[in-house]
């Protein structure tokens, strides 16, 4: 297990609005013996809504990233590409699926991108949660926990991109458990709640903030009613929507890697704001 090196695709959000997510993801992976190697060259994945349409032009960005992974994977002798952001996961995984299932489409894209080598369709897109579950294992995660976590009652919030469409779901799309299991492995209490797979309102935030405020309130109230004092997410957009539209005194939302970093005693990787969230939870109880 030690010395596992995996290619990873950060995506734009992790380099700008979600820097804390990337920092903690790299740190906790390292603690678990996984070195995440950023693709040497990459572009924006194209984002989920581009994949909704049957427009080859909008699949080019993702295929180009898969080619970058193919180039780097050859050197590493590994075809697994780790994603951290839910949106990037969904986009890359879906486009990968589309071109694998439709050789004609892949040929069109390869011919259009005549400046690149052909994509051969053999990259495997995975999410960091799957790395921790399947390649590291929860037993090893338990070993690394250095802090008492039982006062933290964390509601896993999956949103859409990790679970839908079901062809690319990382778990049972109606009843996912992967984050719950991780939270429990960290020694915190996992609070499963009915809105865990609800949409956060996504890009509606651009057009009408009210929609997002209402959705965020619904999600947060439900999590609170089920006894949570924190919401845990994998998605920078869910994180943004739930936190920027938070009710006064509503419970905060953090990335799952921040919860892990806290459990592992890697406080130095957490932002002062996130540390404050944890300290507040411990004070209140």
């Amino acid at each position: 297990m030690n010395g596992l090196k995996l290619m990873y695709f950060p995506g734009c959000a992790l380099k700008s609005t979600a820097e804390d997510y990337e920092k903690t993801a790299i740190a906790v992976a390292e603690k678990l013996g996984v070195e995440l190697l950023e693709l040497e060259r990459w572009n924006c994945c194209g984002v989920v809504f581009n994949v909704a349409a049957d427009a080859v032009m909008h699949h080019i960005a993702a295929v180009r990233d898969l080619i970058r992974a193919q180039e780097m994977g050859r050197k590493l002798n590994d075809n697994r590409l780790v994603t951290i952001c839910s949106m990037c996961y969904s986009t890359l995984k879906r486009v990968n699926q589309i071109v694998k299932d439709d050789p004609e489409k892949l040929r069109n894209i390869n011919e259009f991108m005549d400046e690149e080598e052909d994509y051969e369709g053999n990259i495997e897109v995975i999410h960091l949660l799957q790395v921790f579950k399947d390649l590291v294992g929860y037993d090893k995660i338990k070993e690394k926990v250095s802090r008492r976590m039982e006062k933290i009652k964390a509601a896993p919030f999956y949103g859409c991109a990790l679970l839908r469409p079901k062809e690319v779901s990382i778990d049972d799309p109606e009843d996912p458990k992967i984050m719950e299991e991780l939270i429990e492995a960290l020694g915190a209490e996992a609070v499963k709640f009915p809105y865990e797979i609800k949409c956060c309102s996504s890009y509606n935030v651009i057009y009408d903030r009210k929609i997002t405020e209402e959705t965020a309130a619904e999600i947060q109230r439900a999590a609170e009613r089920w006894g949570a004092n924190i919401i845990v997410t994998t998605c920078p957009l869910c994180h943004y929507n739930l936190n920027t539209s938070k009710r006064k005194n509503g419970i905060p939302t953090i990335y799952f890697t921040e919860l892990m970093a806290y459990a592992f005693g890697l406080e130095e990787t957490l932002s002062p704001e996130t540390l404050k969230i944890f300290n507040k939870i411990l004070e209140e109880i």
């Binding site: 700008s16 572009n43 924006c44």
Partner: protein, 230 residues
Amino acid sequence: MGEHVKNVKMVKIYIMGKEYEVPEGLTIMKAMEYAGYRFIRGIGCRGGFCGACSTIYRMKNDYRLYTGLACQTTVQDGMYLVQIPFTPAEKPKYNVDELKPTGTTILSIFPEIARCVACNACTKACPQNLQVMDAIQAIKRGDLAKAAELCFDCISCGLCTIRCPAEIIHYHAFQLVRRLYGKYIAKKAKHLEERVKEILQGKYDEELEKLAKMTIDEWKKLYEERDIEK
């Protein structure tokens, strides 16, 4: 045709659809002048640096649209070409002193950047062989140092901009990237700051006044006898 070109091999080119025979080996610019065109705009340094003489062309039996600078690209037989002397684009006004050096700043002035689909048409069009799309993508993720590095050799010819399906105005955005990088991110040159300070303190005032009072001949003499830095 004059006597002097009798033994030179001629090639056939098409300028805006009209056929001309021109000597091989000429640049597109010289060939057009040979054919009788006189450039008023769309011409500048003739050395491949100013970006004024953008040209697009196709070759016989080749589906690709090629790009180049007329002063740098030699004519080939069967070339269909036209000049793109200017790429229409509004130059946004901003005060670089009031901006923050972030990707968001650039996206707020050039929001089209968010529409990039990574098709790479810009990169294929660049006569400077820059990784144009990678530079746009670096802006998108807020890595201005990387973007500035990738677009450092941009000559603002506008060929990327005219090819972009997302209608991004690359060359104006790149200028802003380099300004923000130079002002806020790049390491400051210490010796420059010291020299500016010396100038402001009047260290060279006396010398300058002396020079201002000299005659042309004294100037020439001074120039000829100057110390040349080794």
